[in-house]
Amino acid sequence: MLSVQDTNTPVTFSPELLSKFADVVSRYPAGKQKSALLPILHLVQAEFGWTSVPAMDKVAEYLSIQPIEVYEVASFYTMYFLKPQGKYMLEVCRTGPCEIVGATPIMEHIEKTLGVAEGDVTPDGLFSWRGVECLAACGFGPVLQIGPEYTFYENLTTQSVDKLIGDLRQKGNS
């Protein structure tokens, strides 16, 4: 199930998550805990599916920094979702080298297959998709990745995309 939350509901971080936070913070010198912000936001997104305002506020509290310091970072980096996404977010590389080996037809195929526009979520909450910039796999294009593990799928064809979506649908519904 997708962990979509009302933005007004307070968030709680589990003890397991908090211990992961502590492990990250231990990598930096004393007083430099703000360095943990990017890794911690990744952990939050992996747990909740996106970085909501209440979650970011809790992160700010945890790191003893101002909430704005978290918002400005979350909105700067493209990997953090500021609204809920499908359980599986298909991110297709759309930059030069992937484009010349057929990224656009792949994105058109995904749009048609899922029936939702770029950035929207399918009604069952399972999928969303978007074009992203270079994923540094230019020799194996077209490519796409799926978070939070960022599993990588290379040399895409419409057939391999169909199979991938079919497999994920089965996995997501079971």
Binding site: P39, F76, Y77, R94, P97, I100
Partner: protein, 454 residues
Amino acid sequence: MARKLLLEHINVPGINTFDVYRSKGGYAAVEKALKTLTPDEVVEEVKKSGLRGRGGAGFPTGMKWSFLAKPEGVERYLVCNADESEPGTFKDRYLMTYIPHLLIEGMIVASFALGAKTSYIYVRGEMMPQIRILEKAIAEAKAKGFLGKNILGTDYSLELYVQPGGGAYICGEETALLESLEGKRGNPRIKPPFPAIAGLYGCPTVVNNVESIAAVVPIINEGGDEYAKLGIGRSTGTKLISAGGNLKKPGVYEIDLGLPVEEFLYSDEYCGGIANGKRLKAVVAGGSSVPILPANLFMKTINNEPRLMSYESLADGGFVSGTMMGSGGFIAYDEDQCIVRNTWNFARFYHHESCGQCSPCREGTGWMEKVLHRLEYGHGKMSDMDLLVDVSKKIEGNTICPLGDAAAWPVASAIRHFRDEFEWHVTHPHEATTRNFGIAHYADPLPKLEATAS
């Protein structure tokens, strides 16, 4: 066949594990450096090797190291730049995926040379699988006594951590990377002060690319002088080239610098020629930021000399008829590719990735994207080409970091070399929207079979 220094054992099963890597002579450079050399001697070897930064700028690594300030009682840091995001470049991903211990070994030796007690590998956030691979490799190395307290019983101790980014091309710029590592937006800093004086947390810091750090391992094993014997002129050693685009055999290749481009492109040992029996139209030789060249200018310099894969030969002719080695992101375009479309695609990339700090870049990249979009989709004007050149000139050199230049060069060079293809889009608006390629008379003048038969 050329010697491989970095990828020699890449196909050995299990080379990603400590034991197999060690059995192939891995971590010998750590033993040699920590037990027989002083930090300054390590720096000296790297200087002698002539190694130039493999991330794109090509600045001599040993010299960069020697600039590091060493005030008493202040921490020093080594940060590895693994934020590989330059379109066309995927060598670092390859190296970290298949032979992670080479990077770890290089990090230990380089940290020792610089006197760093804590070092970070900043990996782009999308490479979570590689982050997991590196963390596992670090844990293995630590368990075997190559990291942590008193490495191999010496006085030297080192902690090594992996830091994920958040998906921002700009963080490949070293000061933006340091900002990001401090938990902030990736806005590049004004230099000076350079990171060698005030870098991470205001402390002296060296930032090196993954491949540069990995190259330290063979340099220490064989000596800087031996390393410098490979290559040509001031382009010493070997270089990883990420070959992509319309090639028969795309992939990562380790070449001796100085290899003729014709051999790299057409021989079966490397790219194997252009895919699907097509002809070469254009090449981006060092990642999307460097000037694009039409096939004829890429194969031979303006003086009709065969071009070589070296820093100097690729730059021969300056920006009028040459390009740059950059990060080694090699993109080949066949005769069916549209240069206008490609230029628009790259302009969109730079607009998307501009951090927004400097007006010329923030506004200029957006302008260029819009103008190129209308050209590609058949709504362009003849005056647009001059407009684009004008905008690119106003970005170039007027920004804090090189992203502005990187955005300007591909546009300016595409118009310089392919102007009639842009004009064709204006004079043939209907065709510009219905067929996705431009005009093909730029294709490689060399008969393709003559080259492949050799």
